[in-house]
Amino acid sequence: MTLSKTSASETMPVGRTNTRGAECHEGPFEPGRAALMGDFVGRNKLFVLGLGLFLIILLTALFAPWLAPYDPNNIDFSVKLEGPSWAHWMGTDDLGRDILSRVMFGARTSLIIGINVIAVAMAIGIPIGLVSGYFGGRLDSILMRLTDVFLAFPPLLLPIAITAALGPSLINAMIALAISWFPWYARIMRGAVMSIRSNLYVSAARTMSISHLKILVRHILPNAWTPALVQASMDFGYTILAAASLSFIGIGAKPPAIEWGLMVSLSRSKFLDYWWTAAFPGLAIFVTVLAVNLIGDGLRDILDPKSRGQQ
């Protein structure tokens, strides 16, 4: 009883509930999470829109081989550079390949890029952030200076340099993006860890001489991953954009890879006359990133309502 009293007053400083303005009304009503979700969805049509779009894109990517009307690599000069028609909804490119089919297969590439880059960036960044935040001290400063070095480059410049160094290819572009992205996860994780490191249960765990690894994995990680996840959902779209930009300037995906940025890039000499060669892949990038951003936005509201006001 006594304990609950202390903790209640500690974790819920009085007067805090009202500082967020009228939207929160007075104090928490503590409705169930499901109710909160329902209410959230009701308020947030954009999130639903994003989710819907993303589902369509995801399904397209998954079932591209069955959905695509043509083999995306099938060359047919007899229909070279034809505009949108019933046979080719999005027209054809300079090799007579069906652009709709290529856009569908392109969805795979973009989603794979997004997932891989974020996964690798998290895989590198999270352990660094965990260790850095948990142990602190000199190790922390060394690791953080290290991430500073990576953050010293304007966005996009480092991935470009790394891709070039490794040799232009889709895989290398993904590696480069992941390397440029991991410091953000290290930072976020470190922040989250530091804020909970001092919490009672961790100190308690430490005094009971449980191994550091166990504390990190059992106690800290489960409580610190939310900000990283929120960040990931926001980064997903930007990753796809960055990869498309790399492909566009010629150091990302290469033919015969089917990638939207590359498709736009290869259409540059023609798009004034054959607008569909660039328009549809460009639109695909836009819609996908938009969907992902809308979802990221919504997810942040659900997972981390406190950060609602921030970026």
Binding site: V14, G15, N18, A22, E23, H25, E26, P28, F29
Partner: protein, 325 residues
């Protein structure tokens, strides 16, 4: 005694697409000159909403109905565009947590000056002496020095005094203080409360003191209004209510009044939760948490009055109460 403020049948709700939160339901209260009234209730009971509605400070999305009179003159309660209204003329509000109440980027002087000028009662020429005067009234030593400072250079207690001074700059008749001491330590709390009391006594200022902590304000206040789930469930002279609380909720509240150290909330001791105000409430709002629940509690409870002006909203009669205690 003149009645400075009277509110009748105040309702505040926040409509949205899926549901409407009815935060305040049928609240009536009044404030006389020089009187200190406590508005008591736990978090989420609608105290702040009531105060904000009275001041016309709710966001535009709020729906407010009811009547409000300042010194006998009616005032619209609609939240849209009445900030320079009677409320603004006659009342000032102090929000909880003084530490965030002042803008960290501006000196005390800049902020007080802007507030003073906005009140329309002070001109740019006369503003400085007024500020110095108000600051000394709130017993701040060396007011001239204080004016030059930024908020972070002052202590919590000093800031709260500045905030009160800011309220006084507008020369209000009514001061609404929303949890003015919860962020402060116990000793400073006592000083601030004392200050409020002396201001009320010496300047004829009426104070509406919003608090969740009855114990802290008990000795200070003339009257008390107890709120629960958006309604006033008991009201009366402080001494009467303290001596014989009539509503089961008030009784519980009394029972949990802590000793002198207990600045922190103890309301968690009342088991159960405040009802969801977005759903219609059938009967008594407190019934789920009440030890004395009767079948009749599913019906709306009547307001009962005791002999000396104490009122409460419950199915229990005073006889039953006596029996119970």
């Amino acid at each position: 005694m003149t009645t400075l403020l009277s509110v009748t049948g105040l309702n505040v709700s926040f409509p949205s697409i899926r549901k409407t939160v009815r935060a305040v339901r049928g609240v009536s209260l009044s404030l006389d000159e020089g009187e200190i009234v406590a508005l008591v209730g736990e978090s989420g009971s609608g105290k702040t909403m009531t105060a904000m509605a009275t001041m016309g400070l709710l966001p535009d999305s709020a729906e407010v109905t009811g009547e409000c009179q300042w010194l006998g003159r009616s005032q619209s309660l609609s939240p849209r565009g009445n900030r320079k209204s009677l409320a603004g003329q006659h009342a000032a509000i102090i929000f909880q947590n003084p530490l965030t109440a002042l803008n960290p980027f501006f000196t005390i002087e800049q902020q007080l000056t802007d507030v003073a000028l906005a009140s329309g009662k002070v001109s740019r020429k006369t503003v400085l002496p007024v500020l110095l005067d108000k600051l000394s009234r709130v017993q701040l030593p060396d007011p001239a020095q204080v004016l030059k400072k930024y908020p972070h250079q002052l202590s919590g207690g000093q800031i709260q005094r500045v905030v009160i001074a800011m309220a006084l700059v507008c020369q209000p008749r009514v001061l609404i203080a929303d949890e003015p001491t919860t962020a402060l330590d116990v000793i400073v709390q006592a000083e601030i409360l004392q200050l409020l009391q002396s201001l009320a006594r010496e300047e004829g200022l009426s104070v509406l003191l919003i608090t969740h902590d009855l114990g802290v304000v008990a000795s200070l206040c003339d009257r008390v209004e107890v709120m629960y789930a958006g309604e006033i469930i008991e009201s009366g002279q402080m001494s009467d209510v303290l001596r014989s609380p009539a509503h089961p909720y008030t009784r519980k509240l009394m029972a949990t009044v802590p000793d002198i150290r207990g600045g922190a909330t103890v309301l968690e001791y009342i088991s159960g939760q405040v009802p969801d105000l977005s759903r219609p409430i059938r009967g008594c709002a407190f019934k789920e948490r009440c030890d004395r629940r009767l079948p009749v509690c599913d019906e709306s409870p009547p307001v009962r009055a005791l002999n000396d002006g104490q009122r409460y909203r419950c199915h229990l009669t005073s006889e039953q109460e006596v029996e119970f205690s």
